[in-house]
Symmetry: C2
Subunit: 277 residues, 2 copies
């Protein structure tokens, strides 16, 4: 029996059929305590601080958390509840929206490269370069030959990241069509959430099946050994947050960062700091 979240949420190699991945599953969750699913925030933040601390002594390691999913899947919630545990120092969050005019004039990775985490930092991408084989593919925004070539480009790009010290953690937050409906309805029913509501979101639901196909292609063709995908069941918000927290926890434990131990002459420094007699 697996006890690793990374194993539990891994994508099997070969053709991917998202219908086979339950959106309301809760792998590894304690059966009786689903409402109390919380990460060990103290342990997580200590690991993050050590990753950051290491970088001040020249280590190059860093983490990139990629969050993808349909509208309302919970990318913002994960950012708030999971990434929010870490505090602002050593975390860099970027939401990638529809490309600006300037961004469109460059290669699709141009804006991505500008926001890669520096050493010691946990970078968070709320949407990412994967939009360039998702929304772009579903809506024919570029010719098929162009997006078709991007899967390999992405694999090479992520290989380059991994080779230069980045651990890439890619999460597809998987919700059902009904869950999205319920969440959009909930937004409509709360006037304080109307600002999050976009009429286009309803139109986009008509493309649900196309998006599933596009995600299946992503999960099949970019699920590499160096940068694997995790399918995070997203119908239960607490489970979803906990699972992503666990993925980060396992990732940081494996990196095993340590506070640098500079060679300080503590006694001498203490003397220099002593108050004058």
């Amino acid at each position: 029996m697996t006890t690793s979240m990374r194993e539990a949420l891994a994508v099997a190699s070969g053709p991917v059929n998202l219908a086979g991945y339950e959106t309301d599953a809760r792998p590894l969750a304690p059966v009786k305590h689903n409402r109390d699913l919380t990460n060990d925030a103290a342990a997580l933040t200590a690991l993050q601080e050590q990753l950051w601390a290491e970088s001040t002594a020249g280590k190059e390691r860093r983490v990139l958390l990629v969050l993808q999913g349909m509208d309302t899947a919970g990318k913002g919630g994960i950012t708030e509840h999971v990434v929010g545990m870490f505090g602002p120092i050593g975390v860099q969050y970027t939401a990638f929206k529809k490309p600006t005019k300037e961004e469109s004039e460059h290669d699709f990775l141009w804006r991505i490269r500008k926001r890669l985490p520096p050493p010691g930092v946990i970078g968070v991408f709320d949407r990412s370069h994967y939009e360039d084989v998702l929304v772009v593919r579903v809506h024919d925004l570029v010719p098929p030959g162009e997006w078709e070539a991007r899967y390999d480009v992405i694999n090479d790009f992520e290989k380059e990241l991994v080779d230069t010290g980045t651990t890439v953690v890619k999460c597809f937050v998987h919700i059902s069509y009904d869950t999205q409906r319920e969440r959009l309805l909930a937004r409509l029913q709360d006037p304080d959430k109307h600002w999050k509501f976009n009429e286009g979101d309803i139109a986009e639901r008509a493309y649900w099946a196309d998006y599933q196909v596009a995600y299946e292609a992503v999960l099949e063709r970019t699920n590499t050994e160096h940068a694997p995908w995790y399918v995070v069941p997203g119908d239960h918000k607490k489970y979803r947050n906990w699972a992503v927290g666990q993925l980060l926890h396992e990732t940081l434990l494996e990196l095993d960062p340590h506070y640098p131990r500079p060679d300080l002459d503590v006694a001498s420094l203490e003397t220099r700091l002593a108050p004058p007699h």
Copy 2:
């Protein structure tokens, strides 16, 4: 009797003598409950979310929190405990270190301008353009005529920020010479904190008086109506964090942001979202 933190921590106009500002004061703190000083995180984060929400509907308002103070004053602690309440979306943190070669080749505001908060965002500067009239002045890094001219440049720059929608909140975190010694000693005594210890910090203590003079000049010459300074007593960590949280709270209450209320035809949208019969 004042009940506003901004009034309580304001700098009096005219010549500034930092010796007259107690580093262990606790203005407005309830006398008996100093250990329980906590901000209303729920209210603060709701205000921050509304500021962010407004920007998605085109509003331009934003906040810039400038944190200055001697080594160990608590800029990192404020970032962790106060700014950390907000979560990653709508917050942008920047620590300004010794300028890089590229930064040095530009005007001193060049790197600052690149990190100004966009609309809806609370930007946090851990050190700032003020270093260019502090460390630069104390260590004669440029000729006196050059730094001398910067006070007016800074005032004009901040006026420009305010005129384009930024509320600038400038905090000088004020600690005593003894408090710095205690904190540096504490770092020496904890091997997990040695990475934060810089031998240069001890050498820099020899310039304490010069820094106080340089800070006095800052507080006197850049304490403008459009971008006033606050002197935050920093010897008590919990008080310091609470006070900065209150400053932000008062600032956000005054901005009085609201969730945008787009004109949605809720009934019609609900119908479109209804499941097929």
